[in-house]
Symmetry: C2
Subunit: 260 residues, 2 copies
DNA sequence: CAGTGGTCTAGACCACCCT
DNA sequence: GGGTGGTCTAGACCACTGA
Protein backbone atom coordinates (compact mmCIF):
# COMPACT_ATOMS: atom_id res chain seq x y z
CA UNK A 1 0.00 0.00 0.00
CA UNK A 2 2.85 2.48 0.54
CA UNK A 3 2.47 4.66 -2.50
CA UNK A 4 5.86 6.24 -1.93
CA UNK A 5 7.94 7.14 -4.90
CA UNK A 6 11.44 5.81 -4.63
CA UNK A 7 12.09 4.24 -1.27
CA UNK A 8 10.07 1.11 -1.71
CA UNK A 9 13.19 -0.29 -0.14
CA UNK A 10 11.66 -3.70 -0.24
CA UNK A 11 10.69 -5.71 2.73
CA UNK A 12 12.21 -8.65 0.97
CA UNK A 13 15.79 -9.35 1.74
CA UNK A 14 16.71 -10.30 -1.78
CA UNK A 15 15.41 -6.96 -2.99
CA UNK A 16 17.63 -5.18 -0.52
CA UNK A 17 20.59 -7.09 -1.86
CA UNK A 18 19.45 -6.38 -5.37
CA UNK A 19 19.15 -2.66 -4.74
CA UNK A 20 22.58 -2.66 -3.20
CA UNK A 21 24.07 -4.39 -6.21
CA UNK A 22 22.37 -2.02 -8.62
CA UNK A 23 23.80 0.91 -6.68
CA UNK A 24 27.22 -0.65 -6.56
CA UNK A 25 27.41 -1.46 -10.22
CA UNK A 26 26.17 1.89 -11.37
CA UNK A 27 28.08 4.02 -8.90
CA UNK A 28 31.34 2.36 -8.07
CA UNK A 29 32.01 -0.40 -10.54
CA UNK A 30 32.71 -0.33 -14.21
CA UNK A 31 32.06 -2.83 -16.96
CA UNK A 32 34.02 -5.99 -16.34
CA UNK A 33 34.58 -5.38 -12.64
CA UNK A 34 33.72 -8.22 -10.32
CA UNK A 35 31.07 -7.83 -7.65
CA UNK A 36 31.67 -9.27 -4.18
CA UNK A 37 31.44 -13.03 -4.06
CA UNK A 38 28.22 -14.69 -3.04
CA UNK A 39 29.68 -15.82 0.23
CA UNK A 40 30.98 -12.35 0.95
CA UNK A 41 27.51 -10.92 0.38
CA UNK A 42 26.12 -13.64 2.61
CA UNK A 43 28.26 -12.22 5.41
CA UNK A 44 27.56 -8.59 4.66
CA UNK A 45 23.79 -8.98 4.63
CA UNK A 46 23.49 -11.81 7.09
CA UNK A 47 21.27 -13.81 4.78
CA UNK A 48 21.56 -17.23 3.27
CA UNK A 49 23.34 -17.86 0.05
CA UNK A 50 20.17 -18.78 -1.82
CA UNK A 51 18.85 -15.33 -1.09
CA UNK A 52 21.97 -13.72 -2.45
CA UNK A 53 21.77 -15.90 -5.51
CA UNK A 54 18.16 -14.92 -6.06
CA UNK A 55 19.14 -11.27 -6.10
CA UNK A 56 22.08 -11.85 -8.41
CA UNK A 57 20.15 -14.11 -10.75
CA UNK A 58 17.49 -11.50 -11.27
CA UNK A 59 20.15 -9.02 -12.32
CA UNK A 60 21.84 -11.57 -14.54
CA UNK A 61 18.60 -12.21 -16.35
CA UNK A 62 18.27 -8.49 -16.90
CA UNK A 63 21.71 -8.35 -18.41
CA UNK A 64 23.28 -6.20 -15.72
CA UNK A 65 25.58 -8.90 -14.41
CA UNK A 66 27.32 -11.89 -15.88
CA UNK A 67 28.40 -15.00 -14.04
CA UNK A 68 31.43 -17.05 -14.90
CA UNK A 69 31.79 -20.29 -13.05
CA UNK A 70 34.96 -20.57 -11.10
CA UNK A 71 35.81 -16.91 -11.58
CA UNK A 72 33.08 -14.71 -10.24
CA UNK A 73 30.23 -12.42 -11.16
CA UNK A 74 30.96 -9.36 -13.22
CA UNK A 75 29.35 -6.19 -14.41
CA UNK A 76 28.39 -6.90 -17.98
CA UNK A 77 28.59 -4.52 -20.87
CA UNK A 78 25.23 -2.91 -21.50
CA UNK A 79 23.64 -5.43 -23.78
CA UNK A 80 22.39 -4.59 -27.18
CA UNK A 81 18.74 -3.89 -27.09
CA UNK A 82 17.44 -5.79 -30.03
CA UNK A 83 13.96 -4.50 -29.71
CA UNK A 84 12.52 -1.68 -31.64
CA UNK A 85 9.98 -0.01 -29.47
CA UNK A 86 6.57 1.48 -29.99
CA UNK A 87 7.19 5.15 -30.09
CA UNK A 88 5.30 8.19 -31.18
CA UNK A 89 6.40 10.72 -33.72
CA UNK A 90 7.04 13.19 -30.93
CA UNK A 91 9.31 10.78 -29.11
CA UNK A 92 11.22 9.95 -32.25
CA UNK A 93 11.83 13.59 -33.02
CA UNK A 94 12.78 14.34 -29.46
CA UNK A 95 15.40 11.64 -29.62
CA UNK A 96 16.84 13.33 -32.69
CA UNK A 97 16.90 16.66 -30.94
CA UNK A 98 14.21 18.09 -33.16
CA UNK A 99 11.03 19.87 -32.25
CA UNK A 100 7.88 18.19 -33.45
CA UNK A 101 4.78 20.04 -34.46
CA UNK A 102 1.54 18.91 -35.98
CA UNK A 103 -1.13 20.22 -38.27
CA UNK A 104 -4.43 18.42 -38.17
CA UNK A 105 -5.78 17.89 -41.65
CA UNK A 106 -8.86 15.85 -40.88
CA UNK A 107 -10.52 14.65 -37.72
CA UNK A 108 -13.73 12.87 -36.95
CA UNK A 109 -15.60 9.62 -37.09
CA UNK A 110 -16.01 7.79 -40.36
CA UNK A 111 -17.15 4.42 -41.65
CA UNK A 112 -14.19 2.09 -41.67
CA UNK A 113 -12.76 1.54 -45.15
CA UNK A 114 -12.38 -2.09 -46.14
CA UNK A 115 -8.65 -2.36 -45.50
CA UNK A 116 -8.89 -0.64 -42.15
CA UNK A 117 -11.74 -2.87 -41.03
CA UNK A 118 -9.89 -5.95 -42.16
CA UNK A 119 -6.68 -5.05 -40.37
CA UNK A 120 -8.49 -4.13 -37.18
CA UNK A 121 -10.76 -7.14 -37.35
CA UNK A 122 -13.99 -5.15 -37.25
CA UNK A 123 -16.99 -5.07 -39.56
CA UNK A 124 -16.49 -2.99 -42.68
CA UNK A 125 -18.37 0.23 -42.39
CA UNK A 126 -18.45 0.33 -38.60
CA UNK A 127 -17.52 3.64 -37.09
CA UNK A 128 -13.89 4.53 -36.51
CA UNK A 129 -12.23 7.64 -35.23
CA UNK A 130 -10.14 9.05 -38.01
CA UNK A 131 -7.28 11.50 -37.76
CA UNK A 132 -5.09 12.78 -40.52
CA UNK A 133 -2.14 14.91 -39.60
CA UNK A 134 0.81 16.64 -41.12
CA UNK A 135 3.95 16.23 -39.04
CA UNK A 136 6.78 18.70 -38.88
CA UNK A 137 10.27 18.59 -37.44
CA UNK A 138 11.72 21.96 -36.64
CA UNK A 139 9.00 23.45 -38.75
CA UNK A 140 9.82 21.49 -41.89
CA UNK A 141 7.26 18.99 -43.18
CA UNK A 142 8.36 15.49 -42.43
CA UNK A 143 5.41 13.18 -42.76
CA UNK A 144 1.74 12.82 -43.47
CA UNK A 145 0.02 10.43 -41.19
CA UNK A 146 -3.38 8.88 -40.91
CA UNK A 147 -4.85 6.79 -38.12
CA UNK A 148 -8.02 4.84 -37.43
CA UNK A 149 -9.36 3.68 -34.09
CA UNK A 150 -12.65 1.81 -33.58
CA UNK A 151 -15.18 4.13 -31.95
CA UNK A 152 -16.47 1.20 -29.92
CA UNK A 153 -13.19 0.91 -28.07
CA UNK A 154 -13.23 4.46 -26.81
CA UNK A 155 -16.34 6.40 -27.79
CA UNK A 156 -15.21 9.58 -26.05
CA UNK A 157 -11.71 9.56 -27.48
CA UNK A 158 -12.23 12.64 -29.63
CA UNK A 159 -14.68 14.45 -27.35
CA UNK A 160 -12.17 17.18 -26.54
CA UNK A 161 -11.11 17.44 -30.13
CA UNK A 162 -8.38 15.34 -31.69
CA UNK A 163 -5.90 14.36 -28.98
CA UNK A 164 -2.34 15.59 -29.30
CA UNK A 165 -1.07 12.09 -28.69
CA UNK A 166 -3.17 9.17 -29.80
CA UNK A 167 -1.14 6.73 -27.74
CA UNK A 168 -1.59 8.81 -24.63
CA UNK A 169 -5.30 9.13 -25.34
CA UNK A 170 -5.65 5.39 -25.81
CA UNK A 171 -3.84 4.86 -22.54
CA UNK A 172 -6.22 7.16 -20.73
CA UNK A 173 -9.16 5.27 -22.15
CA UNK A 174 -7.90 1.97 -20.88
CA UNK A 175 -6.20 0.70 -24.00
CA UNK A 176 -2.53 0.99 -23.20
CA UNK A 177 -0.57 0.32 -26.40
CA UNK A 178 1.46 -2.80 -25.73
CA UNK A 179 3.08 -3.77 -28.97
CA UNK A 180 2.83 -3.23 -32.66
CA UNK A 181 3.77 -4.36 -36.10
CA UNK A 182 5.05 -2.07 -38.77
CA UNK A 183 5.67 -2.60 -42.44
CA UNK A 184 8.09 -0.33 -44.26
CA UNK A 185 8.24 0.19 -47.97
CA UNK A 186 9.56 2.74 -50.41
CA UNK A 187 7.23 4.37 -52.85
CA UNK A 188 6.69 7.42 -54.97
CA UNK A 189 4.53 10.06 -53.37
CA UNK A 190 1.11 10.96 -54.66
CA UNK A 191 0.72 14.49 -55.94
CA UNK A 192 -1.02 15.50 -52.75
CA UNK A 193 1.72 13.99 -50.60
CA UNK A 194 4.36 15.69 -52.68
CA UNK A 195 2.61 18.94 -52.06
CA UNK A 196 2.07 18.40 -48.35
CA UNK A 197 5.65 17.32 -47.86
CA UNK A 198 6.97 20.18 -49.95
CA UNK A 199 8.89 17.84 -52.21
CA UNK A 200 10.26 18.60 -55.64
CA UNK A 201 9.54 16.69 -58.82
CA UNK A 202 11.49 13.60 -57.93
CA UNK A 203 12.00 12.00 -54.59
CA UNK A 204 10.72 9.00 -52.76
CA UNK A 205 8.73 8.46 -49.60
CA UNK A 206 8.93 5.80 -46.94
CA UNK A 207 5.54 4.35 -46.13
CA UNK A 208 5.07 2.92 -42.68
CA UNK A 209 1.94 0.93 -42.01
CA UNK A 210 1.38 0.14 -38.39
CA UNK A 211 -1.02 -1.94 -36.37
CA UNK A 212 -0.96 -1.17 -32.67
CA UNK A 213 -2.16 -3.67 -30.09
CA UNK A 214 -3.34 -3.27 -26.52
CA UNK A 215 -4.16 -6.11 -24.19
CA UNK A 216 -7.66 -6.03 -25.60
CA UNK A 217 -6.42 -6.64 -29.13
CA UNK A 218 -5.77 -4.46 -32.17
CA UNK A 219 -6.69 -0.90 -31.29
CA UNK A 220 -5.31 1.25 -34.06
CA UNK A 221 -4.31 1.15 -37.65
CA UNK A 222 -2.12 3.88 -39.01
CA UNK A 223 -0.28 4.82 -42.14
CA UNK A 224 2.52 7.30 -42.26
CA UNK A 225 4.30 8.67 -45.27
CA UNK A 226 7.74 10.13 -44.60
CA UNK A 227 9.95 12.18 -46.85
CA UNK A 228 12.62 9.76 -47.98
CA UNK A 229 15.40 12.30 -47.69
CA UNK A 230 14.56 13.29 -44.14
CA UNK A 231 13.68 10.07 -42.44
CA UNK A 232 15.31 6.74 -41.98
CA UNK A 233 14.72 3.79 -39.73
CA UNK A 234 17.37 2.02 -37.73
CA UNK A 235 16.77 -1.63 -37.12
CA UNK A 236 18.95 -3.78 -34.90
CA UNK A 237 19.28 -7.34 -36.11
CA UNK A 238 19.41 -10.14 -33.59
CA UNK A 239 21.42 -13.31 -34.11
CA UNK A 240 19.94 -15.87 -36.48
CA UNK A 241 18.07 -18.97 -35.38
CA UNK A 242 16.23 -19.35 -32.10
CA UNK A 243 17.38 -22.50 -30.36
CA UNK A 244 13.95 -23.98 -29.81
CA UNK A 245 14.72 -25.05 -26.28
CA UNK A 246 17.93 -23.32 -25.43
CA UNK A 247 17.80 -23.81 -21.69
CA UNK A 248 20.66 -21.53 -20.83
CA UNK A 249 22.57 -24.24 -19.06
CA UNK A 250 23.07 -26.85 -21.70
CA UNK A 251 23.58 -25.56 -25.21
CA UNK A 252 26.91 -26.77 -26.51
CA UNK A 253 27.00 -24.81 -29.74
CA UNK A 254 24.55 -27.06 -31.53
CA UNK A 255 26.33 -27.21 -34.85
CA UNK A 256 23.25 -27.32 -36.97
CA UNK A 257 23.64 -28.62 -40.46
CA UNK A 258 22.65 -26.10 -43.03
CA UNK A 259 22.46 -26.35 -46.73
CA UNK A 260 21.44 -22.93 -47.93
CA UNK B 1 31.96 -34.67 -23.76
CA UNK B 2 29.07 -36.89 -24.87
CA UNK B 3 28.55 -35.68 -28.39
CA UNK B 4 25.24 -37.48 -28.62
CA UNK B 5 22.41 -35.88 -30.45
CA UNK B 6 19.24 -35.81 -28.43
CA UNK B 7 19.54 -37.76 -25.22
CA UNK B 8 21.72 -35.39 -23.27
CA UNK B 9 19.21 -36.30 -20.59
CA UNK B 10 21.04 -34.14 -18.10
CA UNK B 11 22.71 -35.40 -15.02
CA UNK B 12 21.24 -32.47 -13.18
CA UNK B 13 17.96 -33.10 -11.52
CA UNK B 14 16.50 -29.74 -12.38
CA UNK B 15 17.23 -30.42 -16.05
CA UNK B 16 15.33 -33.68 -15.83
CA UNK B 17 12.38 -31.83 -14.40
CA UNK B 18 12.79 -29.18 -17.03
CA UNK B 19 12.81 -31.70 -19.86
CA UNK B 20 9.73 -33.32 -18.41
CA UNK B 21 7.91 -30.02 -18.28
CA UNK B 22 8.89 -29.13 -21.82
CA UNK B 23 7.55 -32.48 -22.99
CA UNK B 24 4.39 -32.09 -20.98
CA UNK B 25 3.62 -28.59 -22.19
CA UNK B 26 4.28 -29.36 -25.83
CA UNK B 27 2.65 -32.77 -25.94
CA UNK B 28 -0.21 -32.86 -23.53
CA UNK B 29 -1.05 -29.38 -22.40
CA UNK B 30 -2.41 -26.43 -24.24
CA UNK B 31 -2.02 -22.71 -23.72
CA UNK B 32 -3.51 -21.71 -20.40
CA UNK B 33 -3.44 -25.17 -18.88
CA UNK B 34 -1.88 -25.48 -15.45
CA UNK B 35 1.16 -27.66 -14.87
CA UNK B 36 1.35 -29.82 -11.75
CA UNK B 37 1.97 -27.85 -8.59
CA UNK B 38 5.47 -27.47 -7.27
CA UNK B 39 4.76 -29.71 -4.35
CA UNK B 40 3.27 -32.35 -6.61
CA UNK B 41 6.41 -32.30 -8.74
CA UNK B 42 8.45 -32.53 -5.58
CA UNK B 43 6.75 -35.85 -4.89
CA UNK B 44 6.92 -37.14 -8.42
CA UNK B 45 10.65 -36.53 -8.82
CA UNK B 46 11.68 -36.99 -5.24
CA UNK B 47 13.62 -33.75 -5.19
CA UNK B 48 13.38 -30.64 -3.08
CA UNK B 49 11.12 -27.79 -3.91
CA UNK B 50 13.98 -25.43 -4.71
CA UNK B 51 15.06 -27.80 -7.45
CA UNK B 52 11.59 -27.86 -8.93
CA UNK B 53 11.46 -24.10 -8.76
CA UNK B 54 14.78 -23.80 -10.52
CA UNK B 55 13.45 -25.87 -13.39
CA UNK B 56 10.20 -23.93 -13.57
CA UNK B 57 11.89 -20.56 -13.28
CA UNK B 58 14.14 -21.29 -16.22
CA UNK B 59 11.09 -22.02 -18.34
CA UNK B 60 9.29 -18.95 -17.07
CA UNK B 61 12.21 -16.78 -18.08
CA UNK B 62 12.05 -18.32 -21.52
CA UNK B 63 8.41 -17.46 -21.81
CA UNK B 64 7.13 -21.04 -21.91
CA UNK B 65 5.40 -20.88 -18.54
CA UNK B 66 3.74 -18.21 -16.50
CA UNK B 67 3.35 -18.17 -12.74
CA UNK B 68 0.42 -16.65 -10.93
CA UNK B 69 0.73 -16.46 -7.21
CA UNK B 70 -1.99 -18.24 -5.36
CA UNK B 71 -3.27 -19.91 -8.52
CA UNK B 72 -0.61 -21.95 -10.15
CA UNK B 73 1.80 -22.15 -13.04
CA UNK B 74 0.39 -22.17 -16.55
CA UNK B 75 1.44 -22.74 -20.11
CA UNK B 76 1.79 -19.29 -21.55
CA UNK B 77 0.86 -18.19 -25.03
CA UNK B 78 3.86 -18.25 -27.34
CA UNK B 79 5.32 -14.84 -26.82
CA UNK B 80 5.84 -12.36 -29.57
CA UNK B 81 9.33 -12.30 -30.85
CA UNK B 82 10.16 -8.65 -31.00
CA UNK B 83 13.40 -9.16 -32.76
CA UNK B 84 14.26 -8.93 -36.38
CA UNK B 85 16.94 -11.42 -37.18
CA UNK B 86 20.03 -11.37 -39.28
CA UNK B 87 19.11 -13.13 -42.44
CA UNK B 88 20.46 -13.46 -45.92
CA UNK B 89 18.68 -12.58 -49.10
CA UNK B 90 18.26 -16.25 -49.84
CA UNK B 91 16.62 -16.90 -46.50
CA UNK B 92 14.29 -13.96 -46.91
CA UNK B 93 13.17 -15.11 -50.33
CA UNK B 94 12.77 -18.67 -49.15
CA UNK B 95 10.48 -17.47 -46.42
CA UNK B 96 8.36 -15.76 -49.04
CA UNK B 97 8.23 -18.89 -51.11
CA UNK B 98 10.33 -17.38 -53.85
CA UNK B 99 13.42 -18.72 -55.54
CA UNK B 100 16.47 -16.55 -55.20
CA UNK B 101 19.13 -16.24 -57.83
CA UNK B 102 22.15 -14.04 -58.13
CA UNK B 103 24.24 -12.41 -60.80
CA UNK B 104 27.68 -11.30 -59.78
CA UNK B 105 28.45 -7.86 -61.15
CA UNK B 106 31.83 -7.24 -59.57
CA UNK B 107 34.11 -9.24 -57.35
CA UNK B 108 37.59 -8.72 -56.02
CA UNK B 109 39.73 -6.84 -53.57
CA UNK B 110 39.78 -3.08 -53.57
CA UNK B 111 41.02 -0.22 -51.44
CA UNK B 112 38.37 0.62 -48.88
CA UNK B 113 36.42 3.77 -49.76
CA UNK B 114 36.27 6.34 -46.98
CA UNK B 115 32.76 5.52 -45.81
CA UNK B 116 33.38 1.80 -45.80
CA UNK B 117 36.61 2.19 -43.85
CA UNK B 118 34.92 4.46 -41.37
CA UNK B 119 32.00 2.16 -40.76
CA UNK B 120 34.22 -0.89 -40.41
CA UNK B 121 36.73 0.94 -38.26
CA UNK B 122 39.70 0.23 -40.52
CA UNK B 123 42.24 2.49 -42.19
CA UNK B 124 40.98 4.18 -45.33
CA UNK B 125 42.53 2.56 -48.34
CA UNK B 126 43.25 -0.77 -46.70
CA UNK B 127 42.26 -3.78 -48.71
CA UNK B 128 38.70 -5.08 -48.58
CA UNK B 129 36.98 -7.87 -50.42
CA UNK B 130 34.28 -6.33 -52.55
CA UNK B 131 31.27 -8.02 -54.07
CA UNK B 132 28.51 -6.47 -56.08
CA UNK B 133 25.56 -8.60 -56.99
CA UNK B 134 22.23 -8.40 -58.66
CA UNK B 135 19.57 -10.34 -56.80
CA UNK B 136 16.55 -11.95 -58.36
CA UNK B 137 13.41 -13.51 -56.98
CA UNK B 138 11.75 -15.99 -59.28
CA UNK B 139 13.90 -14.58 -62.03
CA UNK B 140 12.76 -11.00 -61.63
CA UNK B 141 15.30 -8.40 -60.51
CA UNK B 142 14.73 -7.48 -56.92
CA UNK B 143 17.80 -5.77 -55.60
CA UNK B 144 21.32 -4.61 -56.26
CA UNK B 145 23.65 -5.27 -53.42
CA UNK B 146 27.19 -4.42 -52.56
CA UNK B 147 29.33 -5.69 -49.70
CA UNK B 148 32.75 -5.03 -48.25
CA UNK B 149 34.77 -7.24 -45.92
CA UNK B 150 38.27 -6.46 -44.66
CA UNK B 151 40.78 -8.74 -46.36
CA UNK B 152 42.71 -8.95 -43.11
CA UNK B 153 39.85 -10.76 -41.43
CA UNK B 154 39.73 -13.57 -43.95
CA UNK B 155 42.40 -13.33 -46.63
CA UNK B 156 41.26 -16.50 -48.39
CA UNK B 157 37.58 -15.60 -48.44
CA UNK B 158 37.40 -15.15 -52.20
CA UNK B 159 40.00 -17.75 -53.14
CA UNK B 160 37.42 -20.02 -54.70
CA UNK B 161 35.72 -17.15 -56.40
CA UNK B 162 33.00 -15.05 -54.82
CA UNK B 163 31.14 -17.19 -52.27
CA UNK B 164 27.47 -17.86 -52.84
CA UNK B 165 26.70 -16.84 -49.30
CA UNK B 166 28.87 -14.24 -47.64
CA UNK B 167 27.49 -15.09 -44.20
CA UNK B 168 28.26 -18.75 -44.67
CA UNK B 169 31.72 -17.90 -45.92
CA UNK B 170 32.38 -15.66 -42.95
CA UNK B 171 31.22 -18.43 -40.67
CA UNK B 172 33.63 -20.89 -42.25
CA UNK B 173 36.45 -18.44 -41.77
CA UNK B 174 35.79 -18.07 -38.08
CA UNK B 175 33.70 -14.91 -38.12
CA UNK B 176 30.22 -16.11 -37.34
CA UNK B 177 27.81 -13.20 -37.89
CA UNK B 178 26.27 -12.48 -34.51
CA UNK B 179 24.25 -9.35 -34.88
CA UNK B 180 23.80 -6.38 -37.12
CA UNK B 181 22.41 -2.94 -37.57
CA UNK B 182 20.46 -1.86 -40.56
CA UNK B 183 19.28 1.52 -41.67
CA UNK B 184 16.36 1.77 -44.04
CA UNK B 185 15.50 4.72 -46.18
CA UNK B 186 13.50 5.48 -49.28
CA UNK B 187 15.19 7.07 -52.24
CA UNK B 188 15.01 7.50 -55.97
CA UNK B 189 17.14 5.06 -57.91
CA UNK B 190 20.15 6.10 -59.90
CA UNK B 191 19.92 5.54 -63.62
CA UNK B 192 22.08 2.46 -63.33
CA UNK B 193 19.95 1.04 -60.55
CA UNK B 194 16.81 1.75 -62.51
CA UNK B 195 18.27 -0.18 -65.38
CA UNK B 196 19.52 -3.10 -63.29
CA UNK B 197 16.22 -3.36 -61.48
CA UNK B 198 14.25 -3.07 -64.68
CA UNK B 199 12.25 -0.16 -63.37
CA UNK B 200 10.24 2.30 -65.38
CA UNK B 201 10.59 6.05 -65.30
CA UNK B 202 9.15 6.58 -61.87
CA UNK B 203 9.40 4.41 -58.81
CA UNK B 204 11.30 4.40 -55.59
CA UNK B 205 13.85 2.11 -54.02
CA UNK B 206 14.41 1.05 -50.45
CA UNK B 207 18.03 1.40 -49.43
CA UNK B 208 19.24 -0.87 -46.68
CA UNK B 209 22.63 -0.17 -45.20
CA UNK B 210 23.88 -2.89 -42.95
CA UNK B 211 26.79 -3.42 -40.63
CA UNK B 212 27.30 -7.00 -39.58
CA UNK B 213 29.18 -7.91 -36.41
CA UNK B 214 30.88 -11.09 -35.31
CA UNK B 215 32.39 -11.67 -31.90
CA UNK B 216 35.57 -10.15 -33.24
CA UNK B 217 33.83 -6.90 -34.14
CA UNK B 218 32.43 -5.37 -37.31
CA UNK B 219 33.11 -7.76 -40.17
CA UNK B 220 31.07 -6.52 -43.07
CA UNK B 221 29.47 -3.44 -44.48
CA UNK B 222 26.81 -3.79 -47.10
CA UNK B 223 24.37 -1.71 -49.04
CA UNK B 224 21.35 -3.07 -50.76
CA UNK B 225 18.92 -1.31 -53.01
CA UNK B 226 15.52 -2.94 -53.35
CA UNK B 227 12.75 -2.24 -55.78
CA UNK B 228 10.21 -0.36 -53.70
CA UNK B 229 7.27 -2.10 -55.29
CA UNK B 230 8.60 -5.58 -54.66
CA UNK B 231 10.09 -5.42 -51.24
CA UNK B 232 8.95 -4.42 -47.81
CA UNK B 233 10.23 -4.88 -44.30
CA UNK B 234 8.16 -6.06 -41.38
CA UNK B 235 9.21 -4.80 -37.99
CA UNK B 236 7.68 -5.92 -34.71
CA UNK B 237 7.52 -3.15 -32.13
CA UNK B 238 8.10 -3.95 -28.49
CA UNK B 239 6.32 -2.14 -25.67
CA UNK B 240 7.58 1.32 -24.84
CA UNK B 241 9.83 2.20 -21.92
CA UNK B 242 12.44 -0.04 -20.44
CA UNK B 243 11.89 0.04 -16.71
CA UNK B 244 15.48 0.81 -15.79
CA UNK B 245 15.31 -1.44 -12.78
CA UNK B 246 12.18 -3.45 -13.24
CA UNK B 247 13.00 -6.32 -10.92
CA UNK B 248 10.18 -8.57 -11.95
CA UNK B 249 8.79 -8.90 -8.49
CA UNK B 250 7.87 -5.38 -7.57
CA UNK B 251 6.44 -3.34 -10.41
CA UNK B 252 2.98 -2.21 -9.44
CA UNK B 253 2.10 -0.50 -12.68
CA UNK B 254 4.38 2.41 -12.04
CA UNK B 255 2.12 5.13 -13.33
CA UNK B 256 4.83 7.26 -14.79
CA UNK B 257 4.02 10.88 -15.36
CA UNK B 258 4.37 11.86 -18.95
CA UNK B 259 3.79 15.13 -20.62
CA UNK B 260 4.25 14.46 -24.31
C1' DC C 1 -10.55 -22.88 4.43
C1' DA C 2 -7.05 -25.58 1.64
C1' DG C 3 -3.93 -25.00 -2.09
C1' DT C 4 -0.75 -22.32 -4.72
C1' DG C 5 3.38 -19.75 -5.47
C1' DG C 6 7.01 -16.38 -2.87
C1' DT C 7 10.62 -15.99 0.29
C1' DC C 8 14.15 -17.83 3.28
C1' DT C 9 17.46 -20.76 6.05
C1' DA C 10 21.92 -23.29 7.08
C1' DG C 11 24.02 -26.24 5.79
C1' DA C 12 26.21 -29.75 1.87
C1' DC C 13 29.08 -31.37 -2.12
C1' DC C 14 30.51 -30.63 -6.97
C1' DA C 15 32.83 -28.35 -11.10
C1' DC C 16 35.56 -24.96 -12.52
C1' DC C 17 39.37 -21.36 -12.63
C1' DC C 18 43.61 -19.43 -11.26
C1' DT C 19 47.99 -19.49 -9.09
C1' DG D 1 44.91 -25.35 -3.02
C1' DG D 2 41.77 -21.91 -2.24
C1' DG D 3 38.21 -19.33 -4.16
C1' DT D 4 34.14 -18.94 -7.17
C1' DG D 5 29.82 -20.20 -8.92
C1' DG D 6 26.39 -24.56 -9.67
C1' DT D 7 23.42 -27.77 -7.67
C1' DC D 8 20.67 -29.59 -3.93
C1' DT D 9 18.23 -30.60 0.57
C1' DA D 10 14.34 -30.53 4.03
C1' DG D 11 12.35 -28.07 6.15
C1' DA D 12 9.83 -23.12 7.46
C1' DC D 13 6.50 -19.20 7.26
C1' DC D 14 4.11 -15.66 4.34
C1' DA D 15 0.82 -13.82 0.68
C1' DC D 16 -2.42 -14.67 -2.38
C1' DT D 17 -6.30 -17.17 -4.70
C1' DG D 18 -10.53 -19.56 -4.95
C1' DA D 19 -14.38 -22.09 -3.22
Amino acid sequence: MPSDEDAQQASHKYLKVRDYLVQLTTDELGVGDPIPSERALTQRFGVSRMTIRHAIDSLVSEGLLEKIQGRGTFVSAPRMDFEVRLSTFGEQMHRLGLTASTTVLESGAVAAPAEVASVLGISPGSQVHHLRRQRHADGKPMAVEEAWIPVKLAPALFDDGPPASLYEALRLHGHDPRWGEETLAADSPTDEERHLLDMGGRGAVLRATRRTHADSGAVMFSRACFRGDRYQVWVPLAPPQTPVTPSGATATTTTSKEDS
